[in-house]
């Protein structure tokens, strides 16, 4: 359908776009051209303005100045997703699915197929089934969105976009919640789309992934356009450097060895709960324990059970040597165990509130003086957290939902740390965080451990688990497949355990 020449024509172009929210400038004269049949990656630090630019290119925001060219002609894109009719589809960073409706209903939302004025459910169902099979997504077409995992929701969004016959498909951090296997499947779809001439634009903080799939890369820093380069011409290191504007030292901090006879803070024995079967492990004081495995392996479920978020069916939990069963999250918190959720939008932060009430919500009893809340202490805590975690919000009174994803993540981390826990469980610590901040988070985790705090890192990013952990527990289907130490902590071993090819002898 398309010849070689048209692959250099620009379908959609941002021409010297600037954007301010109120008086706060976010983008400064940014230009970006998108060609048909290319995969164009957009990278930059948290808050660089990537999501904002994507929203402008799809009509969700109007630029303060500058032009948008569609098929070479100046265009004013219809607002609120109306650009979909022109073939410009945006998948938001924060997913946009109707939670109470089914997969099928969501995919056809707003353009339902009808026959004689009645919904043609048969055709819709079989089409959706086809799309799902194509992308390798094993869920029912009548599954409710609220029952799906985040990764599955993300995949449904992608299917929805694909099914809209997009000419320009813009995706804001589509792979942030996907495992490597899912990402691979997803990339296969992207390649397919690309062959049919669709322009794919995506934002990602996973630079190796960008290198692998992108044809061209645009880099933003602090709202400024830094450059657009052929992907072949950039190594991930070079990308990182352009993003941050300085040379990055080692991503992972030097490992501080754990005392072999450091006391055990947490011992879990034969734990059973929903989707957790017979899980046992130990955690020492000052240790960083990685939890690896595929999404759905039950890692989150283990810790939700331990922290009183889900019922324990059987098994024992010893905290600081004493058998304990936290009846509530509050009990766990008071004992010094804190869990940081991976789902920061739905379970982590109050998006319609400002930073301060969010920061202190988890540790609120600490801020109570004689019945009332001590707002001065809250302010102090806020200032401290902004410094300690380098939270950047151009307007401190902004609603958390309007902050960039990475800064939300830092705020969430700050919120959990407000209680000064002895054991912190961080589920996907760097989801949606830029490299520079990742480095900060890893160093922060290492520093915590050096101070004697025990940290559990649940992560689907293999290099991350390998880079920060003293030991790694690999789970599969709700069970512990093995515990890796020392030189055994490498991708090969982890994959073999996670895929069920290998299992430690039990005794």
């Amino acid at each position: 359908m398309l010849d070689g020449q048209s692959s250099t024509t620009l379908v959609l172009e941002a021409d010297r776009i600037s954007k301010s929210f109120g008086a706060v400038p976010v983008l400064f004269s940014v230009s970006m051209g998108i060609r048909a049949g290319e995969v164009h990656a957009l990278i930059g630090e948290n808050g660089a303005g990537k999501s904002t630019l994507m929203k402008i290119l799809s009509g969700f925001h109007t630029p303060t100045s500058g032009r948008i060219l569609f098929d070479g002609e100046e265009a004013i894109l219809p607002p609120d997703g109306g650009a979909e009719r022109l073939g410009i589809v945006l998948i938001h960073q924060e997913l946009n699915l109707a939670e109470q409706m089914t997969v099928e209903e969501n995919i056809y939302l707003g353009r339902e197929l009808t026959r004689n004025g009645v919904l043609d459910r048969e055709t819709m169902r079989s089409k959706v089934r086809g799309y799902l099979d194509d992308i390798g997504l094993d869920i029912s077409t009548s599954a409710r969105i609220s029952d799906l995992s985040i990764a599955e929701k993300q995949m449904v969004e992608i299917v929805k976009a694909i099914s809209r016959n997009a000419r320009v498909l813009i995706m804001d951090e589509p792979t942030a919640v996907l495992t490597e296997a899912e990402t691979a499947l997803f990339f296969r779809q992207v390649e397919k789309l690309k062959k049919t001439g669709v322009a794919v634009v995506f934002v990602s903080h996973k630079l190796s992934e960008v290198k692998q799939i992108a044809d061209r890369i645009t880099i933003l820093r602090d709202g400024q356009w830094i450059g657009t380069k052929d992907a072949d011409a950039l190594s991930p290191d070079a990308m990182a450097q352009m993003m941050v504007g300085r040379e990055l030292s080692d991503l992972y901090p030097p490992m501080h060895e754990v005392d072999v006879d450091a006391e055990l803070v947490l011992e879990v024995r034969n734990l059973y709960s929903s989707s957790v079967r017979d899980v046992s492990f130990d955690l020492r004081k000052g240790e960083i324990l990685g939890f690896s495995g595929l999404i759905g392996a039950g890692r989150t479920a283990v810790f939700e059970a331990i922290c009183g978020l889900a019922p324990i069916e059987s098994g024992q939990v010893f905290f600081e040597g004493r058998e304990t069963r936290f009846a509530s999250v509050a009990a766990a918190r008071d004992a010094g165990v804190a869990y940081l959720t991976k789902d920061r939008k739905a379970k982590g932060l109050l998006l319609d509130k400002q930073m301060r009430p969010n920061l202190t919500l988890f540790a609120l009893p600490k801020f109570v003086r004689r019945f009332g809340i001590d707002t001065k202490a809250e302010d102090k805590a806020m200032a401290r957290a902004i410094r300690r975690f380098d939270i950047r919000a151009r307007d401190p009174k902004i609603n958390v939902g309007d902050m960039s994803g990475g800064n939300q993540q830092k705020l969430l981390l700050a919120k959990i740390m407000e209680t000064d826990p002895q054991v912190v469980i961080i589920d996907e610590p760097t989801r949606g965080i830029d490299v520079g901040t990742k480095q900060q988070v890893y160093h922060f985790i290492a520093a915590l451990a050096a101070e004697g705090v025990s940290v559990v890192v649940i992560s689907s990013e293999m290099p991350e688990v390998i880079g920060v952990s003293h030991r790694v527990v690999v789970m599969r289907d709700g069970q512990v497949m093995g515990v890796l130490t020392g030189d055994d902590i490498n991708e090969n071993e982890i994959v073999r355990y996670a895929a069920g090819l290998k299992r430690e002898g039990r005794g």
Partner: protein, 339 residues
């Protein structure tokens, strides 16, 4: 390199925010001006105290409703609850006259019962919604029917009247005044101040807001969601019992028509005041203004022949819709900025 709050934006935001919070106050002032223009007697001391006393019932109940609604719930049972409590109070006091006499002891017994019943009824609503996991709308729709039929049953379809001997002792609670203000107004003021403090200055208030804003986040933030939600219904029940205590001496009776539609007036006061119906944002100050606005409308209509008194409901309905429409405009703007 990024940070730095922009002061001009901050100011702009605060200004627009002020207009929004000031909305109910402006509306009330406008109503008072209209009232005065229609009939200068509107601003007479007698009428103003009357107005404040009348708004005390709905106002006190609405303070409780602010908690329930802020935490994402709803309580439709308050009107029938008030009627049922009033009925039981009267029965208990009447039968206590013989043993305790028509003095203070009997009245105190009645008030004590009212409080216990209010707290108990609220607790039942709360437990059914949280532990029973039934929508608040359904639960309170059910208890609303139950309480209403209970008064009818107690009164045997007629009216329960307070023993005349007790009325004399109890009378001052509604008709008496202290430092020039009627007792019901004092109760209203105390409830409002306590409610304001509880919602805006305590951890409990913060928890209510958090739960209404996003229950899952609240749960993951170590908030005992069920307990806090139940507490909001208990507070609501307590407010209903206080309102009933000052209501009973007014007429000295209770029947199946006592407290009819109070739930809607209370909810309307809350919403006019700027509290968001789906939860997550509550304003006690606004609620109080809302209650005053509703009473003022009725009062003005009493004062003028321009509009029939029978159109009271129409005027109230219009005000509610306009108030919410104005708020919606604001929320719409906020939405457009998001995403």
């Amino acid at each position: 390199m990024t940070v730095l709050a922009n002061s001009s934006l901050g100011k702009g935001k605060r200004m627009s925010f002020d207009i929004k919070t000031a909305g109910p106050a402006i509306a009330l002032i406008l109503l008072c001006i209209i009232g005065f223009l229609l009939n200068p007697a509107f601003l007479s001391e007698g009428n103003l105290t009357n107005l404040l006393t009348r708004s005390a019932f709905i106002g006190i109940i609405a303070v409780g409703a602010t908690f329930v609604i802020t935490a994402g719930g709803i309580d439709l049972s308050v009107g029938s609850m008030a009627a049922a409590i009033a009925g039981v109070m009267i029965i208990i006091m009447n039968s206590a006259v013989e043993t305790l006499g028509p003095g203070l002891a009997t009245v105190l017994l009645g008030c004590g019962c009212s409080i216990v019943l209010g707290i108990g009824a609220g607790w039942i609503n709360g437990m059914l919604t949280t532990k029973g996991k039934i929508e608040a709308f359904i639960v309170t729709l059910g208890t609303m029917g139950i309480y209403r039929s209970l008064v009818t049953y107690f009164a045997d379809g007629g009216t329960l009247s307070l023993d005349f001997a007790i009325r004399g002792t109890y009378r001052p609670v509604y008709y008496g005044s202290f430092l020039g203000l009627p007792i019901p107004v004092w109760v209203f003021i105390v409830v409002a101040v306590l409610g304001w403090f509880l919602l805006n200055r305590t951890a409990f208030g913060r928890y209510c807001t958090a739960i209404g804003s996003n229950e899952a986040v609240a749960k993951y933030s170590a908030i005992k969601v069920d307990r806090v939600k139940t507490m909001t219904y208990v507070i609501q029940g307590l407010c209903v019992s206080l309102a009933t205590i000052i209501y009973v001496p007014r007429l000295g009776s209770a029947s199946s028509s006592t407290g009819v539609l109070w739930e809607l007036e209370a909810i309307a006061a809350v919403i006019i005041g700027g509290t968001v119906l789906k939860g997550g944002y509550g304003r006690i100050g606004g609620t109080i203004l809302g209650a005053l606005i509703l009473t003022t409308i009725g009062n003005i209509l009493n004062f003028t022949d321009l509009i029939s008194n029978y159109l009271n409901g129409t005027m109230q309905g219009l005000i509610i819709i306009i108030a919410v429409w104005l708020q919606r405009g604001d929320w719409g703007k906020a939405k457009a900025k998001t995403n």
